[in-house]
């Protein structure tokens, strides 16, 4: 078993689609929270396979997309310092800040290095003791423990020149804010598989308990997604909202306690600033006291006043309020070669996915 092809079986998929059609009677709207789900749903044409009364909408689960311009501007200000090496995940390079991007800065000669893992930032810091190495730390709960591990290693090894521009986000408080705002009709949530591999089911209980909305932690292969939708349909039809796990081969009820422990050792919960949504209570992290020296926000740099393109709808797209098709810039001024908002940059961004598959 390779855990991939088996979950792409066409005959089983047909059976699941029939099952969904037979057991659903209500007109419902389900949100897939995670950008990776959006990509899978489009790649396998799942929207077109569902009956007309089941609608899927995309949510805020793309870490590049939710990073606000002010943080990108901060990263740009940092990389302009002579003694700084800025390290970042590749997706952040093309995201436009207020007046520049990391890609433009790199072309102008700044030392910006694309890395795949937080541990590479640690290695670069060791190899360049005369430089300040900053890691632009974005990501959700899947990535946060990996960043915490790099921080703990740096401390253990006495590395003094590694710093973190922290822009990490927590998914459950964002979902809370989304459900509380009631701007979008949501009858069920397809919860992210890999964030939940760390979190487990505990942090999502409010979804069913407080909002009476069904939720299913779902994997990323077509059979996973179809089964997740079927489980949501059943919860809705039987009127028994709860948090269930479809992606059982990866997600355990308790999540990954060791990973959670790493996060909690290094970070405390703090308000997070989300693009287009604004400040959400406890949706981000701040360094705990023993690690504050590694906070790159302590650097004295001049950050330009943040501004966003007035017509970009990324904020509304991230909340499921609008689709990319409603944006005047989509496929005209804004496309993957010349992205205006981050949702067109990231391969998990809703606009990028619509551009590629719609």
């Amino acid at each position: 078993m390779k855990f991939i092809d088996e979950f792409r079986d066409q005959e089983i998929a047909k059976g699941l689609i029939e099952k969904i059609k037979k057991s659903s009677s209500k007109s419902i709207q389900l949100m897939e929270v995670c950008g990776t789900h959006t990509v899978s749903i489009f790649r396998y044409g799942i929207r077109g396979l569902l009956p007309d009364h089941i609608k899927l909408i995309s949510g805020p689960g793309c870490p590049v997309c939710v990073t606000p311009n002010s943080d990108i501007d901060f990263a740009i200000a940092l990389c302009r310092q002579e003694d700084v090496i800025l390290t970042t995940f590749g997706d952040m390079m093309k995201v436009p800040g207020s007046t520049s991007s990391l890609q433009v800065e790199k072309a102008e000669g700044r030392d910006i290095r694309i890395i795949y893992s937080s541990l590479e930032a640690l290695r670069i810091a060791k190899e360049n003791p005369e430089k300040k190495v900053v890691f632009f730390a974005i990501g959700f709960e899947t990535t946060s423990p990996t960043i915490a591990v790099a921080i703990l290693h740096a401390r253990q090894e006495g590395i003094q020149n590694l710093f973190f521009l922290n822009s990490q986000k927590r998914i459950p408080p964002a979902l809370y804010a989304l459900l509380q705002s009631r701007q979008v009709k949501i009858n069920g949530l397809i919860l992210p598989g890999h964030v939940s591999a760390i979190l487990g089911t505990g942090p999502y209980q409010f979804i069913s308990e407080e909002f009476s909305i069904p939720a299913v932690i779902t994997g990323f292969e077509p059979l996973d997604i179809l089964q997740g939708i079927w489980m949501l349909v059943k919860q809705i039809e039987e009127n028994r909202p709860s948090v269930e796990i479809q992606y059982k081969r990866i997600v355990k009820k308790e999540g990954n306690p060791l990973a959670m422990e790493k996060i909690e050792t290094v970070f405390k919960k703090a308000d997070g600033n989300w693009r287009g949504i604004g400040r959400i209570p406890e949706s981000g992290y701040r360094f705990k006291e023993p690690f504050q020296a590694m906070d790159a926000r302590r650097f004295e740099v001049v950050v330009e006043p943040s501004k966003e393109h007035p017509e970009c709808l990324c904020g509304e797209v991230l909340q499921g309020i609008k689709t990319p098709l409603e944006c005047r810039l989509f496929k005209k001024a804004c496309h993957p070669e010349n992205p205006i908002g981050p949702c067109m940059v990231s391969i998990e961004g809703t606009c990028h996915t619509y551009f590629k598959y719609q």
Binding site: M1, F3, E6, F7, D9, E11, I12, K14, G15, L16, E18, K19, F89, Y116, S117, S118, L119, E120, G139, T142, T143, P145, T146, V149, H194, A197, I198, L223, Q227, Q246, K248, R249, I250, V251, K252, N256, L258, A259, K262
Partner: protein, 57 residues
């Protein structure tokens, strides 16, 4: 650190977040870290359930 086979390529990844793995097991990798073991029993159970459902149609 451990060596993993990713689609035929050998990659070095960290086991800091998932230390309890043995040679031959599958892991989920995220940004150079194993973050969870893939549970073969659960995978088989899910597939058997889906197979049964599809046949019942």
């Amino acid at each position: 650190m451990a060596k993993v086979d990713v689609g035929g390529f050998l990659r070095e990844i960290s086991l800091d977040l998932c230390p309890d793995v043995s040679v031959g097991e599958y892991v989920l990798i995220h940004t150079g870290f194993a973050i969870q073991k893939v549970d073969e029993e659960d995978a088989k159970e899910t597939l058997a359930l889906l197979q049964k459902m599809a046949e019942a149609i």
